[in-house]
């Protein structure tokens, strides 16, 4: 399985770099085996360099840059090992408008191979949903789901109830 791991690691790295460059409009990202001689036990370092910026420790990246780098790796793993479904809880919270748009577009392009459930407060992300559910507490402390008509939601209004028995 050593050969298999090294090969998959290599492919993952390639995809990670590609997705990263598509999100940041350039730059590079990679995973590095700290101990190449023992790939099955080695720790893994991560390098990421936004376009035009210097090489430096990933901890010095900004909140939004860290989130987008992590999302690039997540999506890269999906490209190698398609997963049938994925649940994301406010993963777009640290992103600015431009990066939210890029994230939403990429999510949309991947949604024919993966079913996504996305919790969000962001209107740009809501717009790409095929179906939208609003969680409400008409009675305090009791959650209900109502299916929401997006056009109306963006104008801040109600929706018709989902099947709440």
């Amino acid at each position: 399985t050593r050969g298999l791991f090294v090969e998959t690691f290599h492919t993952l790295n390639q995809k990670f770099g590609e997705v990263y460059a598509s999100f940041f409009g350039g730059g590079s990202a990679e995973l590095v085996l700290l101990d190449e001689a023992h790939p099955l036990e080695s720790g893994i370092e991560m390098l990421a360099q936004p376009p035009g910026k210097g090489k430096r420790n990933i901890l010095l990246l900004s909140g939004g840059e860290k989130a987008l780098t992590a999302i690039s790796l997540l999506f890269a793993t999906f490209l190698i090992h398609p997963t049938p479904f994925c649940l994301l809880d406010e993963i777009d919270a640290p992103l600015d408008e431009e990066n939210t748009r890029r994230f939403a577009q990429t999510l949309e392009s991947m949604s024919d191979q993966t079913q996504f459930i996305v919790v969000t407060h962001n209107k740009l992300t809501m717009e790409i949903a095929d179906i939208l559910y609003g969680v409400t507490m008409e009675e305090t402390g009791i959650s209900k789901l109502v299916s929401v008509n997006l056009k109306k939601e963006l104008d801040e209004s109600e929706g018709n109830p989902a099947e709440t028995i």
């Binding site: 791991f5 700290l34 991560m46 190698i80 459930i117 996305v118 919790v119 969000t120 939208l132 009675e139």
Partner: protein, 168 residues
């Protein structure tokens, strides 16, 4: 495989039985702070077999059972069922004939818990094995909880190895 339906009853803030159907593509979940969005995603994490109360933001597993409001008494049972359809892979007997599978999990306040497949009691291991047969076994990669997106960035090199190993 595809998620078809989720039924939640007595789990966290879902007092009444709530049924949600999923479509292909992207299902969006929206709503104000504290209304139950993350509880909804916790219900999915739970029915797929999550064993750590801490990953469900609780101290003991009983914390997931509806524990009352000003006007409602606590319940003594939490139950979540997840229906999966369009199963492409060949499943082992006795499940080969099914085109849909429903995984259920129940927890009683007494601490007793049950797992079921198509309403027949089973073990957690059976659910986990079937999920792997359907290609959804790496659930660590399929659910990103609120605020946890950049854990892989701040992880140690050995922790990062575990995350990459699951995905690779």
């Amino acid at each position: 495989m595809r998620l078809k339906r989720l039924e939640v009853f007595g789990f966290k803030s879902f007092f009444d039985k709530t049924v949600v159907t999923f479509r292909k593509g992207i299902t969006g979940i929206v709503g104000p702070n504290g209304c139950g969005k993350s509880n909804f995603s916790d219900a999915i994490l739970w029915v797929l077999g999550e064993q750590s109360p801490k990953s469900l933001r609780g101290e003991r597993m009983e914390d997931v059972i509806f524990s009352g409001t000003e006007h409602r008494k606590p319940l003594s049972l939490a139950e979540v069922s997840l229906t999966i359809g369009d199963i492409a892979n060949e499943l082992p007997p006795p499940y080969t004939v099914y085109s849909e599978l429903t995984f259920s999990r129940r927890l009683y306040r007494s601490g007793e818990s049950e797992y079921l497949i198509n309403k027949t009691p089973c073990r957690l291991k059976d659910i986990r094995d079937l999920l792997i047969d359907m290609g959804a076994g790496y659930h660590a990669h399929t659910i990103i909880e609120q605020g946890k997106v950049d854990d892989i960035i701040t992880a140690t090199p050995m922790q990062r190895r575990e995350i990459v190993e699951e995905a690779a």
